[in-house]
């Protein structure tokens, strides 16, 4: 019987280890060879508008656990494609394949798409995106991801560009934002130490905080987004007199944390990142718990500017739900492709995908190319493919986002 129990225990440990492994998205240092510099010979931006039909191969999860993100990037893009095609001129044709959030499936989807596509739009999530980016780099396809935020996506590949903030970029911006708006004196941090997204943001925040003199007084970690209990962490944060808690985590553990903090009589200000987006959509949530919570998100569906209201109206009419930031990133990505194709004077019907790739790389990195969209205005890209845009923070007031 003793043997049996130890066997069963070993099984239990293996299970718990497997559970840890599933949450920690380890990124392979994918870099096969030095990055080639942007082709200098590519046609520079001309005033000649683009012509023909640009075939866009889209990849993202339409089914499976992260389908909500993939569907949003697809649907947001479709709204933009419809608007663009109504203008006449260059036509966009989006063929979107399901990758279920799995790297192998994404590469298969890419292999199906590459016969017909001129450019690749995707993937939605980081791991599949890195794997597809390896292929597009070798095959010379221009690739724009709406939402894969790790630096490993673009590193060493001149052809891959991001529409979203990178994780380090967002962490540093968050520190700047807290400092510039004097949101807190004693900063506490709670993060998931088994998750690349969370630790990436935390590292960048801490590094930036040291540079600009933000006072980080306490740091607490948890190992798993399914962790239910945060009593010890909250006691430690409360003991350090934290008045602003930085939470570079997803909204599921965040809700458990604010709930436990309230039960223990600890009421700091909360500041989250884009992973916090969605906390208002939890079925049955208590809005009082998150009243006043701030988060950095590039898109606020309840903003009142004309571009946002028009997008939200069209999106609701077409899909019956409010668009999130992924949908907005998808929408902006299509417009960015369209603007760049026009600036580069792409003749989509007669140019090869290699030529289109070089032309678009030259345009995106040219410095005078910028895009105004839902997630930012005057957005530009570095040679590394990372976007530069102003961070926007919102505060939850009476159960809706209010831009700060």
């Amino acid at each position: 019987m003793k043997k049996f129990i130890s066997l069963a225990l070993a099984g239990a440990m293996a299970l718990s280890l497997a559970a840890c492994g599933a949450t920690g998205t380890s990124e392979p240092a994918a870099n096969n060879g030095a990055a080639s510099t942007p082709a200098a010979s590519a046609p520079a931006a001309s005033d000649g508008a683009a012509t023909g039909t640009l075939n866009i191969g889209g990849i993202g999860p339409l089914t499976g656990g992260v389908a909500v993100y993939g569907l949003a990037t697809k649907q947001g893009a479709e709204i933009a494609v419809e608007e663009i095609n109504a203008l006449g001129g260059l036509q966009l044709e989006l063929d979107f394949k399901d990758d279920t959030g799995v790297a192998e499936t994404a590469v298969n989807a890419y292999n199906t798409l590459k016969d017909s596509a001129d450019v690749i739009y995707g993937c939605t999530t980081t791991d599949p995106c890195i794997n597809v980016a390896n292929e597009t780099f070798n095959d010379r396809f221009f690739q724009l991801t709406p939402s894969a935020s790790s630096t490993a996506v673009t590193e060493g590949r001149d052809n891959v560009f991001q529409m979203c903030f990178t994780d380090p970029n967002q962490g540093a911006s968050a520190a700047d934002y807290v400092k510039n708006n004097a949101l807190g004196e004693n900063i506490g941090i709670i993060y998931n130490n088994a998750d690349a997204y969370s630790t990436g943001l935390r590292d960048a925040f801490v590094a930036r905080a040291a540079e600009i003199g933000l006072n980080v007084v306490a740091e607490q970690a948890f190992p798993d987004d399914n962790t239910p209990d945060f009593t010890a962490q909250i006691n430690a944060l409360a003991a350090a007199n934290v008045d602003l808690l930085f939470m570079p985590i997803y909204y599921t553990p965040a809700y458990n944390i604010v709930n436990a903090a309230q039960a223990q009589g600890f009421n700091p200000k909360y500041f989250g990142c884009d992973g916090m987006d969605g906390i208002l959509d939890i079925d049955g949530m208590n809005p009082e718990l998150v009243e006043g919570l701030m988060l950095m998100t590039p898109f606020n569906a309840s903003a009142t500017d004309a571009a946002t209201t028009s997008f939200v109206e069209k999106y609701q009419a077409a899909y019956g739900s409010l668009p999130n930031q992924f949908a907005a990133d998808g929408y902006d990505a299509m417009w960015a492709l369209y603007d760049a194709a026009n600036a580069a004077g792409i003749d989509a019907d007669n140019m090869s995908h290699e030529d289109i790739c070089e032309a678009l790389i030259a345009t995106f990195t040219s410095g005078d190319f910028s895009v105004d969209g839902l997630t930012g205005s005057g957005m530009t890209w570095s040679a590394k493919g990372e976007i530069s845009k102003d961070p926007v923070a919102v505060r939850i007031e009476n159960g809706v986002y209010v831009t700060m």
Binding site: I5, N226, Q233, A263, I282, M285
Partner: protein, 293 residues
């Protein structure tokens, strides 16, 4: 004061582990099998309470009773379909089947209720107790969790020791073949065990999510594994052992988070378990059984 507060947090977490561990230990003690799906039955129970109480607006006690009935049905069905045909199979086969059932329940819940998390409204409406002029607060949930644990432990002990079905369970636990020869319906007894264990799972689910409100299809998995550890820690098969093991595990976990590191608290918990098993292989309150061949 902070130490006391951490201690109480540990007891609170531990009482949830203990509630789950009672179900594990009950089934193990009598059916001699590890029901790894127990954590997922808890999740199902929590979802049923969510739909009847949190969004359905029923009285919490009625909601819990409905969940208990549903989980009992689920537990008995699982036993009938997945475990009974393997009664004579090697224990490893049963173990693997149990893990399979666990995944089946998780993925079934994903299909049925989607991966979107839900926020559970606490079924407990006891206001927190404030001590030392507000320096120390004991959440209402903690009080209820510990009380429910004690009541269930005492109830189970009385049931097993002083009722006819309880005696039948003990007999089945000691020697299945001999029990059958004495006219005990072994299958019915094991079914009854699963029924009780699963009904407890529904209660555990409601209390787990009342303390920690995020409910997802994977909610039961990690507490399930921890509770299994707690059951082994206290001596698997022993009802008071499950309570002791659960509370101790919660306290160790919370204190190591508070005073050693939040990053390795799980590793410390398992390390303590290994040490205990090396010193006392049957767990804290476990009985040594001599298996005659």
């Amino acid at each position: 004061m902070q130490f006391l507060s951490n201690l109480i947090g540990g007891v609170s977490l531990g009482s949830v582990y203990a509630l789950i561990a009672l179900g594990y230990t009950m089934v193990y003690g009598i059916a001699r099998m590890l029901n790894f799906a127990h954590g997922d039955v808890i999740m199902v129970g929590a979802y049923i309470v969510f739909f009847t109480f949190c969004s359905g607006g029923m009285h919490p006690l009625l909601a819990i009773l409905i969940a208990m009935a549903a989980c009992t049905l689920l537990g008995v069905t699982i036993e009938r379909v997945a475990y009974r045909p393997l009664r004579e199979a090697p224990s490893l086969a049963v173990l693997i089947t149990a893990i399979g059932v666990s995944y089946l329940l998780q993925n079934g819940a994903l299909l049925l209720w989607s991966a979107n998390p839900r926020a559970f409204t606490s079924v407990v409406s006891v206001s927190p107790i404030s001590l030392f002029g507000g320096q120390l607060t004991i959440p209402g949930n903690t009080v209820i969790n510990v009380a429910v644990c004690l009541v269930i432990m005492v109830g189970l002990t009385l049931f097993v020791n002083h009722t006819t079905p309880g005696h039948a369970m003990q007999a089945v636990s000691e020697d299945r073949g001999a029990a059958q020869l004495m006219g005990i319906n072994v299958n019915a007894t094991i079914s009854l065990t699963f029924a009780i264990g699963s009904a407890l799972a529904a209660v555990a689910g409601a209390l787990l999510c009342s303390s920690y409100p995020m409910l997802q299809p994977t909610t039961g998995a990690m507490p399930g594994i921890k509770a299994f550890t707690a059951a082994v820690f206290g001596g698997i098969g022993s009802i008071p052992g499950a309570l002791l093991g659960g509370i101790l595990l919660g306290v160790i976990e919370n204190l190591s988070k508070a005073y050693i590191s939040t990053q390795v608290s799980d590793a410390i918990v398992f390390l303590v378990l290994i040490v205990i098993l090396l010193i006392k292989p049957t767990g804290l309150l476990g009985k040594r059984r001599v298996v005659k061949v």
